[in-house]
């Protein structure tokens, strides 16, 4: 089961028998059995015929719409089971300051620990790094249990991440420059890749969250903002260093993406050219399907499965079946 990414502007997606056909000006770009696909992601101007939409929905395959630059626009969601019970518990927890603070803390704890582990690993591999970011991230981790509310947690998250991003550039083995995180819009290649990777990650976690019956739009750490998949962004925190940052580092360090693969737009935003974007999507997909040994359960699982596991474990916490939410932290 895989994600089908369609980036060709003007492409048309149709159904022929039990297959998905992607066409562009009468030329067949892809021809895939429907059973091999579990998600379809469209970038920009891609057309879907009604029969293909019907079939995708019937088969429980969701369709995500991103604009041509990779910004998430929304999704076409197949009917869900009637698991509204778990949503009721989620909403209750979202309005309970104590529970919301606890969960916010756990998401940030996972993120900061994974950031710290990533820097430690780089140092073991010979990257020279100053001592301060380690101290600062550790301090933020230690202070988390004392954060009294979600705002306090967010402050610590900001401090820890800033320390991490101050040295993230040191992990790059190619000529790319990186001086810190710049969002909306990213004005350098590395930030542009990071933003793109975070969008893909949030999309995948939103679908995991949805499979479990949770509402992707109601979060704890991220404030509900209309149209934002806040819960997905919450769970994404722990996966950012593990999946998104790791993919960005590996495509750059292995030379799969080079300076020439980026173009600057008029407004200063930097984006990947089409070809490189395809390579990046493939690298991201590969990372998602790669297996790790699960730190608590000791079996092998893909990151993709880990995302669903975290969503299921969160649902168990919200339904009172377990008494804690443990973020995924890997060494």
């Amino acid at each position: 089961m895989a994600t089908l990414y369609i980036t060709e502007q003007g492409a048309i997606v149709r159904r022929v028998d039990e297959r998905i056909i992607v066409e562009h000006e009468k030329e067949v770009l892809a021809d895939i059995p429907i059973i091999k696909v579990d998600q379809v992601v469209l970038f920009g101007r891609v057309g879907l015929t009604t029969p293909v939409i019907e079939t995708l929905l019937e088969q429980g395959i969701e369709v995500c719409f991103l604009n041509q630059w990779g910004r998430f626009l929304g999704r076409l969601q197949p009917v869900q089971g009637k698991n509204c019970l778990v949503r009721a518990d989620q909403f209750r927890a979202a309005f309970d300051a104590g529970q919301a603070t606890y969960l916010a803390r756990q998401f940030v704890l996972g993120k900061l620990k994974n950031m710290l582990n990533m820097l430690m690993r780089a140092r073991r591999e010979g990257v020279s790094l100053p001592e301060e970011p380690f101290l600062e991230i550790n301090q933020a981790i230690k202070a988390l249990p004392r954060a009294e509310n979600v705002d306090g947690v967010r402050g610590l998250e900001g401090a820890g991440s800033a320390a991490y991003f101050r040295v993230f550039g040191n992990l790059l083995k190619k000529e790319f420059q990186f001086y810190g995180r710049v969002r909306r819009p990213p004005t350098d290649p590395v930030n542009s890749l990071l933003s793109f990777a975070y969008t893909l990650l949030a999309k995948d976690i939103a679908s995991a969250v949805n499979t479990v019956g949770l509402d992707p739009y109601t979060g704890f750490l991220h404030k509900d903002r209309y149209g934002r998949v806040s819960l997905a962004l919450d769970i994404a925190e722990e996966f950012r260093p593990l999946v998104a940052d790791a993919v960005v580092l590996s495509v750059i360090n292995r030379g799969m993406v080079v300076q020439d693969d980026f173009e600057q737009e008029l407004g200063g935003a930097v984006k990947l050219k089409d070809d490189a974007r395809k390579r990046f999507l493939a690298a991201y997909e590969q990372k998602k399907q790669s297996e790790i040994r699960h730190p608590y359960f000791k079996y092998r699982a893909t990151y993709r499965r880990c995302m669903e596991l975290q969503a299921r474990l969160l649902a168990k916490y919200l339904q009172g079946e377990v008494d804690k939410y443990l973020p995924l932290v890997t060494k």
Binding site: G81, K82, N83, L85, V86, G213, P295, Y296, F297, L309, R312, L313, K316, Q319, E321, V322, D323, K324, L326, P327, V329
Partner: protein, 207 residues
């Protein structure tokens, strides 16, 4: 019209699917996932099971010797509030009895027997005859097993009908019971029994 008059009118959500009895007797939590939370993961077992059923379910009647066989019989009991299907109903020497097809072999749990017994109870209501036995055909053993509808089995079946009705109407999630049944359960990846145990038993700091 034959059969007994309805004992009561059943609301749609009070009607118990006969197949749900089997799931419940196997594990109440599994029944909850499938019939309440509508989480259903097909695995090899359930898929093969449904192919097997497709063959059996081509509603048809044909005579084999003196035996009349009716396949895929829709069952409804006004008395017990049950609805479902029997894979096969046979009529032989004036006796009526259900036959249920199962992939695999007989398990240690009473679940298949309970499902069959419920089918028989509905058939009794519909035909007005007493049914003392039926059969379960286990595909991997390639033979029929005789099941007798003893008073104990009937009592247990009634209990399970009650329990399933309560589950469907209250929608209360039964506790997870990690045990040997989880081994063959296709919903393990959703229910996560061993993972839950590990989380409950570890301290926050250990992570």
């Amino acid at each position: 019209m034959t059969g007994t008059a309805p004992v009561r009118e059943w609301q749609e959500d009070e009607l118990v699917p006969i197949a749900a009895l089997n799931q419940y007797a196997y594990c109440p939590r599994r029944c909850y996932y499938i019939y309440v939370a509508e989480e259903y993961e097909d695995n090899i077992h359930t898929l093969e099971g449904s192919y097997l059923h497709e063959n059996v379910h081509q509603a048809s009647e044909h005579l084999r010797g003196e035996k009349l066989q009716v396949r895929s019989v829709t069952l409804y009991s006004a008395r017990y509030g049950l609805a479902g299907k029997a894979d096969l109903v046979e009529i032989e020497d004036g006796q009526v009895y259900p036959v249920e097809y199962k992939k695999g072999r007989r398990g240690d749990w009473q679940n298949d027997q309970i499902q069959l017994c419920a089918q028989a109870m509905v058939l009794e209501e519909v035909t007005g005859r007493v049914i003392n036995h039926g059969y379960i055909f286990y595909a991997s053993e390639r033979r029929r097993q005789l099941i007798e509808f003893t008073p104990e089995l009937r009592a247990e079946t009634l209990q399970v009908i009650q329990a399933v009705r309560e589950l469907l109407t209250t929608r209360r999630r039964p506790p997870q019971k990690e045990g040997p049944r989880c081994q063959g359960c296709s919903l393990k990846a959703i229910c996560l029994p061993s993972e839950t145990r590990k989380i409950l038993s570890c301290g926050e700091e250990e992570q």
